[in-house]
C-alpha cells in the first residue's frame, strides 16, 4: 500500500497545472445563458486542443488513454486552479462511459470526438414527471419506424437541455418494467424544449416533449430492451466515481479553510472537519480507482460515496454562508448547486436504502 505518484504522474500533474495556469479563462457567465453556453463551449474546445477535455478516453477519440489516477490528478488541478464548470459534463461523464462500453465502433467514432471538442453538447433525459426516483416507472415510449424510431412522451429535469444539441435517455420499447426500456440518443432539433428556471432564475433544467421525434437505429445504444441494464451498469462502475471527483471538494475545502482563518474557533473547527472529510473522499477514491483498475466493480458501494460527498458539499457551502453572512455573493451559486446534490443522481434516501439493502444485506 502506498500513496506515491509515479514520475509520469507527477510530470502529468505539472503539465496540467502549467497549461491551466496559462490558459485558464476569466470567470465565464453562467452556462445557462446563451452567452455563457457559447463561452463554456469554446473553453471545452480549447481544453480538447490540448487533449485535456477527456483525458481518460482512448487517444483515437481525443483523450490520452490516461489512467483513473491521471484523471483524478487532472481533476485536482482543474478545480484547484478555479476553472469553469464543465458544460460537457452530461456527455462526458454520463453518456460516454456507456458509449465506450456498449456502443458500436461506429457510434464511438461518430460521437466521442465531437463530444470531446464540445461540437455536440449532450443533455440527459432521465426523469419524468411521475418517475423521479423511480426510474423503472418511465412511460415515455419509442415506436419503430422505417430506418429508426419515433419517440413520444414527456421528460423533465433535463439538465443543459435549454441549449444542448443532443440528448440521451431511456424510452419504453415494451411494457416490461425493466426489460421494456431501451437506451436512445437523439438530436434535440425536433424536441419541444421548455426551460425550467431554477432558484437562481436561470434555466439549468428543461422539460422535453416528444411527439414523434425521429431518431435513427444508429442512435440506439446497446440492444433494444437493454437500456435499464446499461444505465445501471455505468452508474455502478466508473460513473460512481467520476460523477463528482474529489478535486472539486478539496478545492472548496481549501477556500473554506481560508475563510475560517481568524474566524471563531467553533466555526474554524467545522471548516477543518470539512477539509479532513474532503481528504477522506480523496483517499477513498484512490482506493476505488485501484479496485476499478484491477477490473473490479464498485457496485452498490458507490452509493456511500454519493451520500458522503453530497452532504459534505452542502455542509461546506452552508458553513461558508455562516462565515460570510451577507457578504456571501461568491458562494451563492455554489450553495444553490450544493442543495441539489442530495437530490439528483438518486436521492440520498434512495442511496441509503441501497447501502442498507445491497451493501449491508438488510431485508427490503
Amino acid at each position: 500500500m502506498d500513496l506515491d505518484f509515479s514520475p509520469a504522474e507527477r510530470a502529468f500533474r505539472l503539465e496540467v497545472r502549467d497549461w491551466l495556469a496559462r490558459h485558464k479563462p476569466p470567470p465565464l457567465p453562467s452556462m445557462d445563458t446563451a452567452e455563457g453556453f457559447a463561452a463554456h463551449r469554446a473553453w471545452e474546445a480549447e481544453l480538447a486542443g490540448a487533449r485535456l477535455s477527456a483525458v481518460s478516453w482512448p487517444e483515437e477519440y481525443g483523450g490520452r488513454g490516461a489512467s483513473l489516477i491521471d484523471w483524478l490528478i487532472f481533476e485536482e488541478e482543474y478545480w484547484a486552479a478555479g476553472c469553469p464548470a464543465r458544460v460537457t459534463q452530461n456527455g462526458i461523464f454520463l453518456l460516454a462511459p456507456s458509449l465506450l462500453r456498449y456502443g458500436t465502433p461506429e457510434q464511438r467514432e461518430r460521437w466521442l470526438p465531437r463530444m470531446a471538442r464540445g461540437d455536440d453538447v449532450w443533455a440527459q433525459a432521465w426523469s419524468e414527471p411521475e418517475a423521479g426516483s423511480d426510474l423503472a416507472a418511465l412511460t415515455s415510449r419509442a415506436e419503430p419506424c422505417p430506418g429508426g424510431w419515433r419517440l413520444y412522451g414527456h421528460k423533465t429535469w433535463s439538465s443543459r437541455a435549454a441549449y444542448a444539441t443532443h440528448g440521451f435517455g431511456l424510452f419504453r420499447t415494451s411494457g416490461a418494467r425493466h426489460k421494456g426500456l431501451t437506451y436512445f440518443m437523439f438530436p434535440m432539433a425536433d424536441v419541444a424544449v421548455r426551460p425550467i428556471a431554477q432558484l437562481d432564475g436561470l434555466p439549468g433544467f428543461a422539460e422535453l416533449r416528444f411527439d414523434g421525434v425521429f431518431t435513427p437505429d444508429s442512435m440506439v445504444l446497446g440492444e433494444v430492451g437493454e437500456g435499464w441494464r446499461i444505465a445501471m451498469a455505468t452508474t455502478s462502475s466508473e460513473r460512481g466515481l467520476t460523477l463528482r471527483s474529489p478535486g472539486r471538494f478539496l478545492a472548496t475545502a481549501d477556500r473554506l479553510a481560508e475563510l475560517a482563518r481568524g474566524a471563531d474557533p467553533a466555526l474554524a473547527d467545522r471548516a477543518a472537519r470539512c477539509r479532513v472529510e474532503a481528504e477522506a473522499y480523496q483517499l477513498h477514491t484512490f482506493g476505488t480507482a485501484r479496485r476499478l483498475m484491477a477490473g473490479e466493480e464498485i457496485g452498490p458501494a458507490a452509493s456511500m460515496g454519493k451520500i458522503f460527498w453530497s452532504e459534505l458539499d452542502l455542509r461546506m457551502h452552508a458553513l461558508a454562508l455562516e462565515l460570510l453572512g451577507d457578504r456571501a455573493e461568491g458562494w451563492l451559486d455554489g450553495f444553490l448547486f450544493s442543495l441539489a446534490g442530495p437530490i439528483y443522481a438518486g436521492t440520498n434516501e434512495i442511496q441509503r436504502n441501497i447501502v442498507a439493502e445491497r451493501v449491508l444485506g438488510l431485508p427490503r
Binding site: S127, G132, S133, D134, A137, T156, W157, I196, A197, Q198, L199, G201, F205, D264, P265, A266, L267, L314, A318, L321, E322, L323, G325, D326, R327, A328, E329, L332, F335, L339, A340, P342, I343, Y344, T347, N348, E349, R352
Partner: protein
C-alpha cells in the same frame, strides 16, 4: 407564571393573518415590493409599538410577537421589522411614523449591506456602537447580490447624516427577536407546505409521506420549531432586562437553525421541483436563509451565548 399568549395577542395575529392572506398571496411576491403595506398601515400595525405620546398604542414586543410570526409565515416582503419594531424605539419623534407613511431601513452592525434600503425614506446606520440616521436624498445605493429576491441588499453610502442620541442596543435586541419570530413563521409554513406535498406526491406506488425516512425528517423539523419558539417568546418578555442580549441570541440562533433545517428538508422532500423558479416554495427558502443572516448570523449569536454561559471567548 402564564407562559402562553393572551386572547388579545392571538386576536391581533389572526387579524394580521387574514390581511396577509388577502393582500400578500404568494403571487404578490413576484409582483410587488411591499404587498399589504397599506392594509397593515390601515390596521395601525406600524404604530403598535410606538409610545402613546407618539400616537402609538404603546404595546410591548411580546404583544405583537404572534403577529410578527404571521408576517414570516406569509413571507411578507419589505422592511417590516425595521419600520414597525426598530423605528419606534429609535425614531419615535418622527412624525406620522405610526401611519406607515415613513418607511425605515437599517444597516445593522456587522452587516455589509442594508436590506430593502431602496424603499427606505429614513435609513438607520449602526456603526461603532452608535447610530446615525440618513434621509433618502442623502443616500447612495449600490445593489448587491443576495439569496432572497424579496429582500434585496444594497451597499450604502451617504453625504449627510444625523447622529441618533438614543442608545441603539435595545432597538437591535428587539429587531433580533422580531426577526427570530419571523423565522419561526417561515419554518412553520415550510413545514406545513412540505407535509402537504408529502401527502400527495407518490413514488414507488405510495405517497412519499408514508416513507419513514421522510416522516422522520419532517418530525425533526417539527421538534426543532416546537422548541425554538419558546426561546423566542422568552426573549420578547426579557427584552428590557439584563438578559436581553443573551436571550435574544438564544432566540435568533434557535429560530435560524429551525428555519434552515426546515428549508433543507423542504427541498429534500420536494426533490427537483422544489429547486425551480416556478414553485412558490423558493420564496420561503430564500427568506429562511436571508433572515438567518440578518441582525447577526447564527454563528455570531452562538458565540455570544458561549461567552455568556461558559465565559469562553475565542
Amino acid at each position: 407564571m402564564n407562559f402562553g399568549f393572551s386572547d388579545d395577542q392571538l386576536a391581533l395575529a389572526a387579524t394580521v393573518r387574514d390581511v396577509l392572506r388577502t393582500h400578500c398571496p404568494p403571487g404578490s411576491l413576484r409582483a410587488q415590493r411591499r404587498p399589504a403595506w397599506e392594509q397593515l398601515a390601515g390596521l395601525g400595525f406600524f404604530g403598535l409599538l410606538l409610545p402613546e405620546a407618539a400616537d402609538g398604542l404603546g404595546l410591548a414586543l411580546v404583544d405583537v410577537l404572534p403577529a410578527l410570526e404571521e408576517t414570516g409565515r406569509a413571507c411578507l416582503p419589505g422592511p417590516v421589522v425595521e419600520t414597525a419594531v426598530v423605528a419606534p424605539s429609535l425614531l419615535a419623534d418622527v412624525p406620522k411614523l405610526g401611519s406607515g407613511a415613513v418607511c425605515v431601513g437599517v444597516l445593522p452592525p456587522g452587516q455589509a449591506y442594508a436590506a430593502d434600503a431602496d424603499l427606505a425614506d429614513l435609513l438607520v446606520v449602526v456603526r461603532d456602537g452608535g447610530a446615525r440616521v440618513i434621509s433618502r436624498p442623502d443616500v447612495r445605493l449600490v445593489p448587491r447580490r443576495g439569496v432572497d429576491p424579496c429582500r434585496p441588499l444594497f451597499e450604502v453610502g451617504w453625504s449627510r447624516s444625523e447622529p441618533l442620541p438614543v442608545p441603539v442596543g435595545p432597538a437591535l435586541a428587539r429587531a433580533t427577536v422580531a426577526t427570530a419570530a419571523q423565522l419561526v413563521g417561515v419554518a412553520r409554513e415550510l413545514l406545513s407546505v412540505t407535509v402537504g406535498y408529502a401527502r400527495v406526491r407518490t413514488q414507488f406506488g405510495a405517497p412519499i409521506g408514508s416513507f419513514q425516512a421522510v416522516k422522520h425528517q419532517l418530525a425533526d423539523v417539527a421538534v426543532a420549531v416546537e422548541f425554538a419558539a419558546p426561546l423566542v417568546y422568552r426573549a420578547a418578555l426579557t427584552v428590557g432586562s439584563d438578559s436581553a442580549e443573551r436571550d435574544a441570541s438564544a432566540a435568533k440562533a434557535a429560530a435560524g437553525e429551525a428555519a434552515t433545517l426546515a428549508a433543507r428538508v423542504a427541498l429534500q422532500v420536494h426533490g427537483a421541483i422544489g429547486y425551480t423558479e416556478e414553485l412558490d416554495l423558493r420564496f420561503w427558502l430564500a427568506r429562511a436563509w436571508s433572515l438567518s443572516a440578518a441582525y447577526g448570523t447564527t454563528a455570531a449569536h452562538r458565540e455570544r451565548l458561549r461567552t455568556a454561559i461558559t465565559g469562553r471567548r475565542p
